[in-house]
């Protein structure tokens, strides 16, 4: 028992060091994130999210961990009401979570009239170590607007050898009106370490719609529809739970989840809860009043953001992810035959297509009931059971859907004329139809079928600088430089351009020592 108790506690301890570009934001803006991860953390994916004061998740991203660091961003929806929020970072196996307060002003409603806001009470802020030996040269006391500037970072050689991973350099306009704190609280890990470090995991529960009780041994299918579809299945556990690991997925991906009882083929009810709730782990909140300066700065930020939105100025450029080619062939095997109906005369429905183009496929309609059979080339006779029918990789059982598909709707058809196996699944032949349009409007959502747009791992991105985009309109950037992963060297030259926003700016260099402590050096300058 002691071992069990200790094994739980022996999991990742120590907080994540979380940094954002600002402490005060306006809805519609983007929060840039930099996370330093404890060296004993083995999960390859970092969960970052935005929570409101009640502990409810309002936004979430999955970031890839590289060299025990992660970079990313969170878009702030315009639906967020003004108030104090918490940016949270953790992993699925970590016993801690790091939270950072940020204040978000809704750009349409502004600050609340009450002049009061809530913030966590009695938290112990995480500390960084000032490192005077790390020098920043070449920074003037003041710059003109839109001036091209440079600075040099001098890193002592002894510190260079003690630095763990990359450095993080940023130049932002600080908000002294709202002094944000970062703190660590306990977390309840979603999974044990044995789940591995690759990809994100999605989970849910299958229930019997009649009894509302969890249904064990149900079959759950997950499809990522594509011209080369990806497919997974899972047999639900005793408590009706299912899990899918999504490796090598970046950005927003369409996902279709289906479930059925394999014994009766009857559909069941599938539930997925993606949003987290950390209300029970949060400290108490206290009420504080805004200062007059706070209100003024918030108002200026709203004006600036409205301008940026009107002129559609982009803040981030998402970089494409080059993936190694996985899966040379679909899960249903190398097709026996591939037919492109466009290469033939126009056929109006699937009945005609099957008769004219698909050898070994028998589509029949009798008394408004359709049947489909595939020839088994191994046994030289037709299968008695219907084949696996896929539309863009999504399994369908209702032949009404394909009945009216003709040459115009179908791009290609792949047919497997043999008994196929995929794990424990058995398919008496396969007919995979790929449509000319990639929308899934034909697929009706139900209790047993969910269509989702899933945010997989966030692709790498970089902040747009004036060199990427010549600003003809006023340049209202508050982040002049954001270099989250800068290779540490003895002398590092950095370049930046000031914007049209006057005021005090802070150049800050951060890094993580091999002892796990965060060190920093900063320098302030004015833009006039």
């Amino acid at each position: 028992m002691l071992l069990v108790a200790l094994s739980g506690k022996c999991q990742v301890k120590g907080g994540f060091s979380l940094f954002t570009d600002h402490d005060m934001y306006t809805s519609g803006e983007t929060i840039f994130l930099k996370i330093f991860i404890p060296s004993n953390e083995q999960s390859g994916i970092v969960n970052a999210g935005l929570f409101n004061c009640r502990g409810k998740q309002v936004a979430a991203v999955f970031l890839e961990m590289r060299d025990q660091q992660a970079n990313g961003y969170i878009h702030l929806s315009d639906t967020l009401s003004s108030g104090c929020y918490l940016v949270r970072t953790t992993t699925r196996t970590s016993l801690t979570q790091t939270l950072k307060e940020v204040y978000i002003v809704n750009r349409f409603t502004g600050l609340p009239e009450s002049n009061v806001f809530l913030r966590p009470e009695g938290v112990i802020p995480m500390l960084e170590t000032h490192l005077p030996a790390l020098q920043i040269d070449g920074v003037e006391n003041s710059y003109k607007r839109r001036e091209t500037c440079h600075a040099t970072l001098h890193m002592p050689s002894e510190r260079l050898s003690q630095t763990d991973g990359n450095l993080f350099v940023s130049i932002t306009k600080p908000s002294p009106e709202f002094n944000s704190r970062t703190f660590v609280i306990d977390a309840r890990p979603g999974f044990s370490k044995s789940v591995g470090n690759e990809g994100m995991i999605i989970s849910g529960t299958v229930t019997n719609p009649r009894t509302a009780k969890p249904f064990s041994n149900a079959l759950v299918f997950l499809t990522v529809p594509d011209s080369s579809p990806r497919f997974q299945y899972f047999n639900t556990t005793e408590n009706g739970r299912f899990f899918f690991q999504l490796k090598n997925y970046y950005g927003e991906i369409p996902v279709v989840l289906q479930c059925l009882d394999p014994m009766t083929n009857l559909p069941l009810k599938i539930d997925m809860s993606m949003a987290e709730d950390i209300s029970t782990s949060l400290p108490r909140f206290e009420s504080l009043n805004f200062s007059g300066e706070f209100r003024k700065v918030a108002s200026k930020n709203v004006e600036a953001l409205n301008f940026i939105k009107i002129f559609n100025q982009q803040q981030i450029k998402v970089q494409p992810v080059l993936l190694s080619k996985t899966g040379k062939y679909p899960f249903y095997g190398v097709p026996t035959r591939v037919v492109y109906p466009k290469q033939f005369i126009d056929l109006t429905n699937f009945d005609e297509i099957s008769r004219e183009l698909l050898q070994g496929v028998r589509f029949k309609e009798y008394n408004h009931i359709q049947t489909l059979q595939v020839f088994n080339t191994q046994r030289n006779r037709f299968f008695d059971d219907p084949p696996l029918i896929l539309i863009n990789g999504i399994p369908v059982r209702d032949l009404q859907i394909i009945k009216n598909m003709g040459t115009k709707e179908i791009d290609r058809i792949e047919v497997c004329l043999c008994e196929r196996f995929y794990g424990i699944l058995y398919f008496p032949g396969v007919i995979a139809i790929y449509t000319t349009k990639s929308d899934f409007s034909w697929l009706n959502e139900s209790d047993s079928l969910l269509k989702l747009k899933l945010d997989a791992i966030q692709p790498p991105s970089k902040i747009i600088s004036p060199s990427d985009n010549v600003f003809k309109e006023p340049d209202l950037r508050r982040v002049l430089l954001w270099l989250p992963s800068l290779k540490p060297e003895q002398n590092i030259k950095i370049y930046f351009q000031t914007s049209d926003v006057r005021g005090k700016y802070r150049l800050i260099v951060r890094g993580k020592g091999k002892d796990g402590k965060i060190f920093y050096q900063e320098q302030f300058f004015e833009v006039n």
Binding site: V4, S7, T237, F243, Y329, V334, C418, F421
Partner: protein, 232 residues
């Protein structure tokens, strides 16, 4: 004492609270293939082993699936997998496999690797690796279905039988395949004439007479260690 146990129990429960327990091998790679249908019965066997053996498959993408019941169909150059979950013999898709290994009754591991063969009847083949290295010694364990005398020792028998037609190769990634036979003459011919004397001496000293597969492997490993250049 009771209090301590209760406290430990609470700790244990607390530590594991909310953690999802995932089933074993919940996210392993799925094997893809078609149903294996046995051919008509002839003399001999088309399988390399007389029963399914424990083995593992390394897929083309690098993932490994272990604890499998496997056999190799020498006649069709196919890997057969017995799925106990669905009680079915499955011919694993060759396109999905990188390599596989089987452990026989004696505990000897047989490693097969899928390689593209460019000689007669080109295509992907499973080669058993007899000796790994810059130049590997491989064997293509092919059996042929040939006609044979109808009358055997026990009276009238089948008129066709599976007969071994193993092909041995020296293989280098750049130079490709060089056929070799488990015979002394063929073995020595793979070395330059001045080196042949040295190789012959080495074989004699180690009492190796290359005349079958075992002696070929022993001889090859001996020469490989000595670093004598191979005439390829």
């Amino acid at each position: 004492m009771l209090f301590v146990f209760a406290l430990l129990g609470m700790l244990a429960a607390n530590a594991l609270e909310a953690q999802e327990e995932l089933p074993k091998n919940w996210n392993t790679e799925k094997i893809r293939g078609i149903r294996f249908l046995p051919d008509a019965a002839y003399l001999g066997t088309q399988f390399l082993f007389d029963r399914f053996l424990d083995g593992e498959i390394k897929m083309e993408d690098g993932t490994t699936i272990g604890n499998l019941q496997l056999n190799y169909n020498s006649y069709r150059d196919e890997l057969i997998y017995y799925s106990s979950a669905i009680a079915t013999q499955i011919v694993v898709d060759k396109i999905s496999i990188g390599s596989f290994s089987l452990t026989d009754k004696k505990g000897i591991s047989h490693l097969f690797r899928k390689q593209t063969y460019n000689g007669p009847m080109p295509g992907d083949r499973y080669f058993e690796i007899l000796s790994e290295g810059d130049i590997a010694l491989l064997v293509y364990r092919k059996v042929l279905l040939l006609t044979c005398p109808v009358y055997g020792e026990i009276g009238k028998e089948k008129n066709m039988s599976y007969q071994e037609a193993y092909s041995y190769y020296l293989y280098n990634v750049i130079k490709g395949y060089e056929p070799i036979k488990p015979e002394k003459k063929s073995f020595l011919s793979k070395f330059d004439t001045p080196d042949q004397k040295l190789v012959r001496k080495m074989l004699q000293q180690n009492k190796i007479s290359v005349n079958d597969e075992n002696s070929l492997v022993k001889g090859w490993n001996l020469v490989k260690e000595s670093g004598v250049a191979v005439h390829f």
